[in-house]
Symmetry: C2
Subunit: 214 residues, 2 copies
DNA sequence: GTAAGCTTTTACCAATCGGTCAAATTATCG
DNA sequence: CGATAATTTGACCGATTGGTAAAAGCTTAC
């Protein structure tokens, strides 16, 4: 008899690695569009081009797939904020944070929607991550911003709401892509919209925070 | 034999009015949390405190409930943008638009999440509304903003991305409420967060658009 | 009151859901 | 090669899904 999951903790075959990758890739496709409850194992199995029992050989439950997906994507998702550096200048740090977040919205929209779906539906599976690692990271970076504020490098403002506003404006282009495209219309909805967004947002935050451009 | 839906088009009894209201109210609760696919008729029926067949007597299908809910909520949802007045001053119009949108995020979070869920999942049920009425309204208001820009009343900026950014920042407080609360922590997550947000956003947009406060 | 129509319920349906099982198949290693 | 372990499959399970049929219960207008 096969002992797949016990074996996997010790060493993973090429096949295991390959199939798990395919499953997670397919699951990202499905979960990011329909959310956890709206997605079915059959959908994921079909997207991964394998039978349902075969998929369940690698992941015991639907939740197991979802959890691993979340875990894997979360760290990538926080990277831009991690990179936010107290030593840098407010201008370059905020500019590049906006750019990075917009690039992620452009290049990894599924990851963005995966989280958006999860949070929107009450974050039943990632509450701990939000209250733990995420809060700590934001607290830390908020302190950096507050220091800039006090030093007169940027306008006085609530650092938390500043971070929220950058999150929401940038992720908007991934999460609400359909709406953005619909409103912009065929002509303006090309890839150039990310450049336009970057230009607008950088200007908004530079002037809004009264940061002198160098 | 009963002919409920035909009769309803002619005149609605007190009971019909009452029950349909209860169903839509319950459906808003359920759909706004789980999205269309993630919600079940049973859930809605239970929330509406009636049996499933009884619910299906008033709405033939799950989609019928969802559609009516969307239709009803959409106009309310667009009201703040409708109120955006070309004759007013940029300062008062943008200020009050932000306030109104934040008030809606605070007072009608379910409505916001209903749309967020729908759009996030590809807007399969409201594509027409987005490409039609919504786009037209935004086009119209974008022209107002562009005129202000040209007249030197506000900084030059892309009016579409300005509108997107106001949408995303304000709705963020409804759609990602769990995240906002988690990050702010127990102490700061009270109702005061909406006042803090309003203060931050008004400052950001006034300075970001170089609008002189009067 | 009573008859007509409106509302509600009980019982049910086929399809789909997440997941299991044992057997068949394939890969790996000596 | 042969044996052992890893992988894949088809058949199946009970629960839940969206939805129906028909009869019972209730309102309302005459």
């Amino acid at each position: 008899m096969a002992v797949p999951r016990a074996a996997r903790t010790q060493r993973r075959t090429r096949i295991q690695e390959e199939k798990e990758e395919r499953i997670l890739e397919a699951a990202l496709d499905v979960f990011s569009v329909h959310g956890f409850r709206g997605s079915t194992i059959d959908q994921i199995a079909e997207a991964a081009r394998m039978s349902k029992p075969n998929l369940l050989y690698y992941f015991r439950t639907k939740e197991a797939i979802h959890r691993q997906l979340i875990d894997r994507v979360l760290s990538t998702w926080l990277e831009p904020l991690q990179a936010f550096d107290a030593e840098g200048s407010p201008e370059s740090e905020i500019r590049s944070y906006i750019r990075r977040k917009l690039e992620m919205a452009r290049d990894f929209p599924r990851e963005s929607r995966l989280f958006a779906n999860e949070v929107l539906q009450g974050a039943p599976h990632i509450e701990d991550e939000l209250k733990g690692p995420l809060k700590e990271l934001v607290d830390e970076k908020a302190e950096v911003i507050r220091a800039w504020s006090r030093a007169g490098k940027i306008a006085k403002c609530d650092p938390y709401h500043l971070i929220f506003s950058i999150w929401s404006t940038t992720q908007h282009y991934a999460d609400f892509d359909v709406q953005v495209r619909a409103v912009l219309g065929q002509e303006q909805a090309g890839e150039g919209r990310f450049e336009d967004a970057a230009r607008f947002l950088e200007q908004l935050y530079m002037d809004g925070l009264r940061i002198q451009s160098t």
